[in-house]
Subunit: 452 residues, 2 copies
Amino acid sequence: MMPTAPKIRLLTGFEATRAFIEARPLLDEYEATPALRASIERLFGEALTPDQVVERILREVRAQGDEAVRRYAALIEGAPLDELRVSEERIEQAWERTLPELRDALQTCADRIRAFHEKQPVTSWLDWDTTGSALGQMILPLERVGIYAPNGRAPYPSSLLMAAIPAQVAGVHEVVVATPPRDGELSDVILAAAHIAGVREIYPLGGAVAVGALAYGTASIPGVDKILGPGNLFVVLAKRRVYGVVGIDQLPGPTETLLLADESADPAWLAADMLAQAEHDPMATAMLITTSQHLAQVVRREVATQMPTLSRREVIAESLASRGAIAVVGSSDEALELANLFAPEHLCLLLRDPWQWVGKVRHAGGVFVGEYASEALGDYAVGPTHVMPTGRTARFSSPLQVWDFVKITSVFGPSAEQARDLTGAAVTVAEAEGLTAHAAAMRKRFQEGERR
Amino acid sequence: MMPTAPKIRLLTGFEATRAFIEARPLLDEYEATPALRASIERLFGEALTPDQVVERILREVRAQGDEAVRRYAALIEGAPLDELRVSEERIEQAWERTLPELRDALQTCADRIRAFHEKQPVTSWLDWDTTGSALGQMILPLERVGIYAPNGRAPYPSSLLMAAIPAQVAGVHEVVVATPPRDGELSDVILAAAHIAGVREIYPLGGAVAVGALAYGTASIPGVDKILGPGNLFVVLAKRRVYGVVGIDQLPGPTETLLLADESADPAWLAADMLAQAEHDPMATAMLITTSQHLAQVVRREVATQMPTLSRREVIAESLASRGAIAVVGSSDEALELANLFAPEHLCLLLRDPWQWVGKVRHAGGVFVGEYASEALGDYAVGPTHVMPTGRTARFSSPLQVWDFVKITSVFGPSAEQARDLTGAAVTVAEAEGLTAHAAAMRKRFQEGERR
């Protein structure tokens, strides 16, 4: 096999690196590829945008329920659905077919994910004052959530574990999964992961059909309260549209890893980490920012050396060429500043004394501290979820975790004495807002002649 | 003034009450009123839907920045904008014009809101194991948030406090406010509330123009990371569309109060609470579910008696007639079951021993415990925010609170020993997913001949 030197852009200096980072598209600026547009036109008989496809599917699933679900599933998969819900037998069969080593590996990952999320502090609280007033927040688990487990480019059983287990730790009553067939077949390994996670309610649906069925419910598929998990463009567009009817977790875009390294880092490991990131998807971003010109050169050569042996080298070459970069900057402080501008899904610190830099991170889905914290290991077995914010959304959103599966109810329990004390101020503001019935309702509690 | 008996529907029995609750529209089923449609056609010269108006405004604000902001603000307000940012002088002037009693009242409310949110446990954590691995979650405040302060039917300075103060407690670096003029004038009392909250960056913008400017940023208005706070239909539609570019808190719909009462409750207080709720908006829901037929009758008479003296009696009559209800059911357990089906923004327990029922609440934005916990008092001065989930979204979302203003970064810090222990399982799953470069990146750390 001929080693083909992958194309990867080299950037020099803070300003050039900043310009590259700032030019990255936001989530809603991705365009449908020509192949996707052609496939839509073939299936729907007209040149719809992906968002128009999603709008139509959601509208019809909402109005027509199972009938529309079956029709669109057949159209998209090219074959009619056998069953709207995966049978117990099919799940058992998948489990039986799973090799013991893989079963054990999935169980190890599941145990780690559970242990991590069980440590997350998520508790109700109530605070009394001396007048007997009690105020606080009651935390309740969601009742029924739907998790999307993609099965497109590859089956991702790990994603199912990464979402279903935090849901269970939160105490969610019913966790259901939607996962599409590929070439007419569900993924055994995704079903095996569902088995390990204790999920028995699985719908063989994908894309906007799955999101619509879970959001609105049909005769056969009871609706959920929230839809979570990664997915392709159609899943993301559909989640945005059903938000408000149900909750959603986030709008995931293409995955990103930003590696920061100084000359203490091992270039072969850095190259391996870039290749791992790049194999996800042609739209994945693998980027290294380093203070060492020498390291940059060696990493680049290592990428060329390691790549030819990898099974997904074509995807890797495409993503490195279109979105990858190796940048050399003047200091680790500059590198951190650029990382905060990037707000990457994964930020890996292969710097000397890496912990000293953690406190300077302002925006990242996850920070991977030190050379043994490979992003690949974090994708499976460290414990925190791998479902993390992308596309600069780490500025305002969080990895999937227990808070995604609970909600807060505020508890207002003022005593009569506290209510009396506060009524004057509250009435004054209510009247300034013109809400005189609010003022009257508060005053009525303390009027002469009232029974207390 | 002639007391007009308000129309309010009476429901008897669990099933009739359930049918009424289930027939409530979801957030995305509200239709534009004829008046709104006429006003759109007058302003835009064509019969656009509200969502089409929002799409157009957002697109142009994104592409053209300040120019589009000025153009649409002038179109909607009917007069050109004086300035794109409210001057310090204007804020000072508003403060000077605010009566001392109102200043003090706003300060009292602000102090209560701050004290409540300071008690909310929101902390980073890091957990070490015996191998030196450290895993945890780093909680960081958002850097820059935009709060929408409505000034439509009434100015709501309280809403500004209810959102800006939790932001400050969370440690948000920059809190900015958008609030539209009404009849060409900003609200003094909203500016006074901003003054108390320490907000000095205020944009005199409303609706989709405000949301677009804050989401995308313009030459004069730096973009924010998240947009929060209640607003009208255009604000809600715009927030849904910009979600992903920025974060949003929730999609608020019309406000709702559900009162549960047994014969121990004071019917005059219940009537006052229903009237207070109904005065918000013709779309507001005020509903009472009681076990006492007698109480239901007396409350209805009390509503008729108290209403004529209230300044907003026309709004009240409209909302009670269209969306209000008094229901009589067989037991307090039935009432609670219906409340959970409703998932109301405000749930008021005017039941004997009210605390015993709190643990049975499964879905509510806030629970108001006992007769002194009037919803009106909670709107201003108790401490928890009044920005709460409506339209059944309490099934999956929470009142505004400190978690809305922070985000989590997962910290992955496995030691070499832990990484070695986990690599086998992680490699097995990676290979099952076909991600061989992931497997290679993990293995590389522990290959013979590697430097460690």
